[in-house]
């Protein structure tokens, strides 16, 4: 009976993704002057794991390609040869190919065998070449990299060796060949094709020879004469902070979060009931309930934190993105990442990736000038893009800062006029900057395949708004632009003001509340039948919640209840409720899960007593209202 492996496929795909990420990040942060053994080993292990498990599952194309990659990595690791930029570039391309392959396997598409074979050949050509000596020579000329010249001894390698012997598992260290670098290289590459089934460990060598003493001599690499400068070498991310973790289905976590939410509610019901018990018992009960409250709160906090992930999950792909874009545009860019350990909700992590990529791409394309221009301007040739994250109150602030040319006010304004937008020269800067988020707006002089088509900024803004965030721009001509993304810490929780109407409770999002007032009679004016509230010279139209929500209440008149003044988009209005209950954080529940969208309501939440309160959707409430011209009261 054959074991059904398909149940493990999902795990394999997820793990392979992670390994590919490790590979990519490792390659990006590899310092080719002085490769870090630890790093090389972790890159190698990632490739090895992919190859190993793809063999198990019969994903042969994946295994074959990874095998070639792995061989090359193994050579680096064993210091048979040193990493060069060309090889790293090729490997990054291979990583992309592997991702594509993985996606194909996941989608159960058929694999183009010819392409796979072609790819393997290409890789081998790049990594080894049939005439390595000449290739090495060519490289020396091209880029000034003096690799593969085994006549010279490496001075740097010495310090590596002690480490090498210590850190390598014994199986490795005995594996070294006596051949010189070239022989080994060729032989190894040749064996790559003909060796589909290796032992699962580290058997990359046909005949492992126990010659540990030879190790020092075989690794005949050379320090490049001049330290090569890569175009966009970002600082290495956190090297190896190995956090222990287990893989858990998100549904399980969500159901845990829900259950804990319920526990909190049950707990508070218990607390309420405890108040009706006879005096002697009450004291004891209260103590116990208090204890319970502490415990449940702690459980809730720690369960909520399960959903949180460090922003570095998003940020870690950017060294690669920046490198690719900068290379393509012929610019020199250094990426600085800060605050990668700031935690955000998992669902945000997934949705942030695309907008951020777009903004970073824009910064490099439109912001950072070409090296020549930067030199002219007296700036350093290498531009800097700073990606940072921090928590400010209930918000996460992500900022993308570049030291490029800044936004051009004149160009944006003239472009806006061209497109027939209502603008004038006296508009304040922050309003001008917001124009770039209009659909189809691009001021790039040249449309490149990187950016300039004007598709995107509007989408970026829309995506952010849908996540409950907003985007601010600061820009100084000649000194650069800073884009600030403000996002709620989590999508699941909202700061709200609970208001009572009749027997029902509604939640007004706190962020939209301007103030709450108890109107007196003389503040209430009427304009063609509609009541307006005069608050210090401004007239506010009024929405009576009991009417829109069709709730019976005794509190019908404006001066009997309380008016919550809110601002949503450009609309400002007051909401009449019976009374305020208080400010609280509520867990947002979807109404659409089991029901449908309801006008004027964005969701629901469960209150402390177990009842459901509806969360008001101010934007849709505002839509139904007449536009009240901004008028100043006479007095």
């Amino acid at each position: 009976m054959s074991l059904d492996l398909s149940q493990f496929h999902q795990v394999f795909f997820e793990e392979s993704q992670e390994h590919l990420d490790t590979l990519e990040n490792g390659l990006m942060s590899l310092d080719i002057d002085a490769p870090d053994m630890e790093l090389l080993n972790s890159i190698f292990r990632a490739a090895h794991s992919i190859k190993g498990s793809s063999g198990v599952f019969g994903f042969s194309a994946l295994g074959q390609i990874t095998h070639v990659l792995e061989n090359q990595l193994d050579d680096w690791r064993k210091e048979v040869c040193r990493p060069v930029t060309e090889h790293i570039d090729e490997m990054l391309v291979v990583v992309d190919d592997l991702r594509a392959l993985l996606a194909s396997y996941q989608a159960e598409e058929s694999i183009d065998e010819d392409w796979v074979n072609q790819r393997i050949q290409d890789m081998e050509t790049v990594f080894k070449g049939d005439a390595p000596a000449s290739k090495a020579a060519a490289q020396t000329e091209d880029a000034g990299f003096g690799f593969f010249e085994d006549e010279e001894a490496s001075n740097e390698d010495d310090q590596g060796f002690g480490f090498f012997e210590e850190s390598e598992e014994s199986a490795y260290s005995k594996d070294d060949h006596q051949d010189d670098g070239y022989g080994f290289f060729n032989e190894e590459a040749a064996s790559a094709k003909t060796e589909p089934a290796e032992d699962p460990g580290f058997g990359f060598f046909d005949e492992p020879e126990p010659t540990t003493t030879q190790a020092a001599k075989t690794t005949a690499t050379v320090t490049p004469a001049s330290a090569p400068k890569t175009k966009a070498v970002p600082p290495a991310a956190n090297a190896t902070a190995s956090n222990q973790s287990i893989r858990v289905n998100v549904d399980k976590v969500d159901s845990l979060i829900n259950l804990v939410g319920e526990l909190v509610i049950t707990q508070s019901m218990l607390a309420m009931m405890g108040k009706d018990i006879s005096a002697i018992r009450q004291e004891k009960l209260e103590a116990v309930v208090e204890e319970l409250q502490r415990n449940t709160r702690e459980i809730q906090e720690s369960v909520m934190s399960i959903r949180m992930l460090p922003v570095s999950f998003v940020f870690n792909r950017f060294p690669r993105v920046v490198r690719d874009i900068a290379t393509k545009l012929g610019k020199k860019v250094e990426l600085v990442i800060e605050g990668g350990d700031t935690e955000i909700d998992k669902s945000l992590v997934e949705k942030l990736s695309d907008p951020l990529t777009h903004l970073v791409r824009n910064s490099i394309d439109h912001g950072i000038e070409t090296p020549e221009k930067r030199k002219e301007l007296g700036k350093s040739e290498t531009g800097t893009v700073r990606l940072s994250a921090s928590q400010q109150g209930g918000n996460i602030v992500l900022s993308i800062m570049d030291d490029g040319g800044g936004l051009s006010r004149d160009r944006i304004l003239s472009k806006a006029r061209e497109r027939g937008m209502p603008v004038d020269d006296n508009m304040p800067d922050h309003l001008v900057w917001q124009l770039i988020f209009e659909a189809g707006f691009s001021t790039a002089e040249q449309v490149t395949d990187v950016s300039g088509r004007g598709v995107g900024m509007d989408v970026v803004k829309k995506n952010l708004t849908s996540l409950g965030g907003r985007i601010d721009i600061e820009s100084v001509t000649g000194f650069g632009t800073t884009l600030k993304l403000l996002l709620p810490l989590t999508l699941a929780i909202l700061d709200g003001m609970a208001v009572a109407v009749g027997e029902e409770t509604y939640i007004v999002p706190l962020a939209s509340i301007v103030e709450s007032i108890q109107p007196s009679k003389h503040e209430i004016k009427t304009l063609s039948g509609d009541e307006l509230l005069d608050v210090r010279g401004h007239y506010w139209p009024i929405v009576r919640l009991h009417k829109t929500m069709q709730v019976d209440t005794d509190c019908q008149r404006l001066d009997e209840g309380i008016v919550v003044l809110v601002e949503s988009g450009k609309q400002r209005f007051g909401i009449l409720a019976d009374r305020l209950i208080g400010q609280q954080q509520v867990v947002i529940k979807s109404l659409e899960q089991h029901f449908k969208r309801i006008k004027g309501v964005s969701g629901a939440t469960i209150m402390g007593d177990g009842h459901i309160a509806l969360i008001l959707d101010l934007a849709s409430m505002a839509k139904g209202m007449k536009e009240i011209p901004a008028m100043e009261a006479a007095s």
Binding site: L259, Q550, H594, F595, K596, A604, I612
Partner: protein, 167 residues
């Protein structure tokens, strides 16, 4: 394993009363049976949608089938029964007059449903059965909930579904 022909397989149905009629629904779609509790009212909803309740953290709509199909103004007390049904991922609570029994029916015992004569539209019926001289009308809960008859899902979603369907 004992060979069972299709006609011997017994399907279990939960029977419930609505007015004078007895209905049955596939027991696999019943999540739980609970007492009626206070609901949170929803504005601009038809009278038979009572509102939403908190079912262990889920916001679940409550439909009173008595109002919908019997056209009466029912009373609510501690004996009022709500059957919570689950169709795919959706939960809906349905208020009925009472829950009677769980019965097993073989396919042969289920007769085609009539086109008229009961409160439910024939679209939502899956058959008729007789048990101890009592006629039991079998309801296709899935069809009922995913139609716009109860107004439980967005109308666009219904329109898309119907456009894509056989109609």
């Amino acid at each position: 394993m004992t060979a069972q022909t299709d006609s011997e397989v017994r399907y279990e149905y939960l029977t419930f009363a609505l007015g004078d009629e007895v209905y049955g629904m596939d027991i696999m779609q019943v999540k739980e049976i609970r007492g009626y509790e206070a609901v949170t009212r929803i504005a601009n909803a038809p009278a038979f949608i009572k509102g939403v309740i908190n079912l262990r953290g889920e916001v679940v709509p409550i439909v009173d089938l008595r109002i919908k199909f019997l056209n009466i103004k029912p009373e609510y007390d501690e004996f009022t029964i709500v059957i919570v049904v689950q169709v795919h991922d959706r939960l809906v609570g349905m208020v009925v007059d009472g829950v009677s029994d769980v019965i097993g029916l073989t396919r042969d015992e289920i007769k085609p449903s009539p086109d008229f004569g009961v409160a439910f539209d024939s679209r939502f019926l899956s058959g008729l059965a007789t048990q101890e001289d009592q006629m039991i009308i079998l309801v296709n809960i899935e069809a009922l909930i995913s139609s716009n008859e109860l107004g439980l899902i967005d109308e666009e979603a219904v329109a898309i579904k119907e456009a894509g369907g056989s109609q």
